[in-house]
């Protein structure tokens, strides 16, 4: 094995297939698929898996799509097969509520990502405090981190820490960051936060940087990395878990996961679930290049087809207008405005 400077470091990997992967599946994962996946994660020694609608608690909507089942049905399918693996949920204030977090706890969730846009941490104090009161492992999750500066992000992270967050994430929702960016952001957080506060990194592979970025994060002091088996997630997917574990293994970073079991899962369980091959194609590459929220991908593809506008043009326009996560309604609005402009120019 390689004698790496990171040998002996411990990293907690957190799988996103049953949450971020819901985006890639247009929220259509069955409870049977969820249970089989969760069982395999337990067997492979993965410490945490996230299970909710792609947009988290309260996500079922016309804006974000209606899942096949309620979050409660998904949790009830998954929780009984987990013993060592912890089930987590996503909560975005403004969409999900504290009452929904309490319900999630009642159905077995023991960890939560409380997510805000990278500049809006102060919409989360009640929700972070609620997670802590419930006794949940509580993370602050600063989305679209590239739209804030490293020092600005550290200020927001410090706020989340003050609300009670035990971990704060640098969340590269657009898959826009390069390894040197990740180093700067994570270093800024590491310098600002208490030693006891963990730092997480959540990447998207839109520029093919998922693993390199995650390793850069670990090197700069992150101890939690979000991944998904076979990269099942929004855009070109998350950092592929099986590959990340393999790289960690080579570098002597300890994840505690069974690499061969994860490879088999990717091949035999997750890949066959995909409706489209989650990969770097021209649309998902555009997300990473233009810094656009990864979840916009499938919406832009569908609306591009409906209105006869190349999805890439819509995505670039959304990036120019600085639309952020949760503004999926603005994709159709933008397409309609582009159509009007085109017609008036003709």
């Amino acid at each position: 094995m390689t004698n790496s400077d990171l040998a002996g470091r411990k990293v907690l990997v957190h799988d996103m297939c049953l949450r971020d992967g819901m985006h890639a599946k247009k929220e259509q994962i069955t409870t049977e698929q969820m249970r089989a996946f969760a069982q395999a994660m337990e067997n492979a020694g993965v410490p945490m898996i996230q299970v909710t609608h792609g947009a988290g608690l309260g996500g079922n909507s016309l804006q974000h799509g209606f899942a096949l089942h309620s979050n409660e049905e998904y949790w009830d399918a998954v929780a009984p097969v987990l013993y060592n693996t912890v089930m987590s949920v996503l909560l975005i204030p403004g969409l999900g509520t504290m009452n929904e977090l309490r319900v999630a706890y009642d159905h077995g969730a023991r960890s939560v990502h409380v997510a805000t846009h990278s500049t809006e941490a102060d919409t989360s104090p009640q929700h972070i405090a609620c997670g802590r009161e419930l006794g949940m492992d509580t993370s602050g999750f600063l989305m679209m981190a590239h739209l804030n500066t490293p020092s600005g992000l550290a200020t927001e992270a410090k706020k989340m820490e003050s609300y009670g967050a035990q971990t704060v994430y640098v969340t590269d929702s657009a898959g826009y960051m390069l390894p040197e960016d990740v180093t700067q952001y994570v270093t800024a957080l590491r310098n600002e936060l208490d030693d006891n506060t963990e730092i997480g990194f959540h990447g998207h592979n839109n520029l093919g940087m998922g693993i390199a970025n995650s390793i850069a994060a670990v090197r700069a002091g992150a101890s939690r990395i979000d991944c998904s088996v076979a990269g099942l997630g929004a855009g070109a997917g998350n950092t592929p878990l099986e590959a990340f574990v393999a790289v960690c293994d080579r570098m002597g970073i300890e994840t505690g996961c069974d690499m061969f079991a994860l490879m088999d899962m990717a091949e035999d369980l997750v890949f066959p679930m995909m409706d489209h091959i989650v990969r770097i194609d021209r649309s998902s590459l555009t997300l990473g290049y233009a810094g656009v929220y990864s979840t916009f991908l499938l919406h832009a593809n569908r609306l591009g087809e409906k209105y006869g506008i190349p999805p890439r043009d819509i995505l670039i326009e959304l990036g120019r207008k600085k639309m952020i996560g949760g503004q999926e309604d603005m994709i159709e609005d933008t397409a309609l405005s582009m159509l009007k402009e085109r017609d008036s120019a003709a």
Binding site: H117, T119, T123, K321, K322, G326
Partner: protein
């Protein structure tokens, strides 16, 4: 013409914008502005405009209400403290217009139900998103049944003060409830996004309605245009950007609200639609009081 004297509680973004609206009213006169921070910009502006101020909260104004003849109060603080504020005001016979999502009184969206509001000592203005979207939901539901309505409000980060940020759950519940109760949808859902883009983005609202049966496109479009025109009478920057888009039973309407720029610049239409609606509602009650049709009675809390 006589004016009804008013106290404004809360000197943040909403309270300060409201001050300018009330100053322009023919039937309302702001005489007190209440804050909790001596250095508040809103209080300084109020003083410059000749309005008395206190930074000692509601208790700082209570001893002066009778002497100054205050009959209407506006609360632009937080859902968490509204009930206490309202009880104190009502106990002295002061009518309360609630701009927090506390919603302890009847809900009001002026172009939909101002004329049919019950006798009450507390009326609630729901939320900025409620004021911007419920006229549209009602515009569809008065034509045909709406099984489900969903509204998404995108707000400029700079326009969202501490009170709103601490009340996002209440915002969600109160607005969803009002989408049904006043908008006429069987089920409702409200989502809120805060966007920090520079230059600041104008408030946007998207309204989705799922009709029970195939939508009557012509009638719905006509009804929506009528509702938009009614809102424009008190918020001129209320504008249809795209739609209505009909897709199966789904009706999608994409709105924008530009403000008058009284306090924050015009992007903060969320302030205007709330404060203009609150002002319009207070004026209706003020006119009743002036005509002797409504007696304000001190209520024991």
């Amino acid at each position: 013409m006589n004016k009804i004297k008013c106290a404004l509680i809360g000197s943040g973004n909403i309270g300060t914008d409201l001050l300018y609206k009330v100053l322009r009213s023919d039937v309302l006169e702001p005489v007190w502005m209440v804050g909790i921070d001596a250095d508040s910009e809103g209080l300084a502006r109020a003083r410059d405009l000749g309005v008395k101020t206190t930074h000692e909260g509601v208790d700082g104004v209570l001893p002066h209400l009778a002497a100054d003849g205050v009959q209407i109060a506006f609360d632009a603080t937080s859902a968490y403290v509204h009930k206490e504020n309202s009880d104190k005001m009502n106990a002295l016979g002061v009518f309360m217009v609630d701009l927090t999502p506390a919603a302890i009184g009847p809900l009001c969206v002026p172009p939909v139900n101002l004329d049919s509001l019950a006798e009450t000592m507390n009326v609630n203005m729901i939320s900025c998103a409620g004021q911007a979207t419920i006229p549209i939901v009602y515009g569809v539901s008065r034509v045909q049944g709406v099984d489900y309505a969903e509204i998404i409000a995108s707000l400029a980060s700079k326009s969202i003060g501490a009170g709103t940020r601490a009340n996002l759950d209440e915002f969600t519940y109160t607005t969803s409830n009002a989408v049904c109760q006043i908008g006429g949808a069987k089920k409702g859902k409200a989502l809120c996004i805060i966007n920090p883009a520079e230059p600041a983005m104008i408030m946007r609202n998207t309204i989705y309605c799922m009709t029970e049966h195939e939508p009557d496109q012509e009638k719905i479009t006509e009804s929506l245009m009528d509702m938009i025109e009614k809102v424009q009478r008190y918020v001129p920057g209320y504008r249809l950007v795209n739609g209505p888009v009909f897709e199966g039973n789904k009706v999608a309407v994409f709105m924008e609200v530009a403000g008058l720029g009284d306090y924050l610049p015009t992007y903060a239409g969320n302030l205007d639609i709330m404060t203009a609606a609150a002002c319009r509602t207070a004026e209706m009650y003020a006119e009743k009081i002036l005509r002797g049709e409504m007696q304000l009675v001190a209520e024991a809390s």
